[in-house]
Point group: C2
Chain length 241, copies 2
């Protein structure tokens, strides 16, 4: 561990952190991963003990290749979730001079989308928990604000890249996909129009799981055509609602 007072600069330097907004979807509602502060042993985290907060932590100046690496590393350390650096999208910088009572800390917020089912098992339930969007507790620092900005960013991004693949299980139904979009955009769509629109993109393939459908009451199952999905993601995509 570093000796106190070891690092000396000619001019004042701020501390820099990365915070993570991790979105998941449980088939009904959008969820966000939060941690309870102060339970970790990290001596640098002595503010807002006991409060809920976004996972995140300090840039390792000597080791983190980019600030996105900080996000990935800290998320892993604090929640157990192991994501790839490229799963993180930068949301923005929060740099208000008084946002941390201890010293000047600027943070770069990043969001990530995960398949909830796959990931709940990996989450360290001692420190971290998933919250519904409508059920977020009061958060430490300016994390409420960060969360709102991240959410509105997701809301924008969904118009330009398909987003279901990251959030839904491998196999899903059209009503699930629609509900996901409705949760993120906070609106309701017409069932038929939504289905038509999605089918035009040709990224959905029906999954035949052998069960003969005896009625329309049980929804059809789909998975994404990864090839077309990726092509769409790269070639640009415009979804109007």
């Amino acid at each position: 561990m570093a000796q106190k007072g070891k690092y000396v600069y000619e001019y004042p330097h701020p501390a820099v952190t990365a915070d993570c907004i991790v979105f998941g979807y449980d088939g009904k509602a959008l969820k966000i991963l939060l941690i309870k502060r102060g339970l970790e042993k990290d001596a640098s985290s002595t503010a807002y003990v006991g409060e809920w907060a976004l996972p995140g932590g300090f840039l390792d100046v000597e080791k983190d290749k980019t600030i996105a690496h900080t996000a990935a590393r800290e998320l892993k350390e604090e929640t157990g979730l192991k994501l790839s650096v490229k799963d993180f999208k930068e949301v923005g910088t929060f740099s208000d001079i008084k946002r941390d009572p201890r010293e000047r800390v600027i943070t770069i917020a990043h969001y990530a989308l995960v398949k909830l089912a796959r990931v709940q098992a990996d989450t360290d339930a001692e420190k971290a928990d998933w919250f519904s969007w409508n059920d977020i507790p009061h958060l430490a620092f300016d994390h409420d604000k960060i969360l709102r900005v991240a959410f509105s960013r997701l809301k924008q991004d969904i118009h330009f890249e398909p987003v279901g693949f990251e959030l839904l299980p491998e196999v899903f139904t059209l009503p699930q996909l629609q509900n996901l979009y409705e949760s993120i955009l906070e609106v309701k769509f017409d069932r038929r129009n939504f289905a038509n629109k999605m089918k035009h993109f040709e990224i959905l393939s029906e999954v035949d799981d052998g069960t003969p459908r005896r009625g329309t009451r049980t929804p059809l199952k789909y998975h994404f055509d990864k090839e077309n999905y990726d092509r769409l993601k790269n070639s640009g995509f415009q979804l109007e609602f």
Copy 2:
């Protein structure tokens, strides 16, 4: 001036800078404001002397309220241009561990749009100059990359907010407006469709400067209806091309 070695931290801290991408438009092409490094007296800038770079500089940990304030302050100091903090839009963070040879420096890039004519007079020509997009010299650090990202961000943003007001002179012509859009989006439009589209937004009013037009060869002059322009800017806007 700060005494060497005055600022001490328990953990290593990075330096943080704000860089500015200032776009202008001269009626023909998009321009970018650059500075020549090493001419200023700031002792902290001893790398890449003599090269062109984006204006920008270090966060003043004790005084800059946000990183956008750093951008505004440094732009003023380095080029003479005085912009308001809210004229800056955050582009993103560039944090690669080796992007500055001296120490770990992460930068938050910001772009701004200015009326070139009004502003050229204020620009300190000793240190700063305007370059056409197609005529950018080699830049210091990773500023080439930052510039490319900022430009593609502007390209995106133009679909969601009207952008002419900031870049064009008070009075302008439709061909100028179209050329501006074509310069930013790097495409060509049909004259008639462009005019129709713009007129539907009802943000253009004809300016009657007394001169009776004797032919169609001289374009009509317009100015923006500020009220409708702002309403559009706030209420969201969707421009398809």
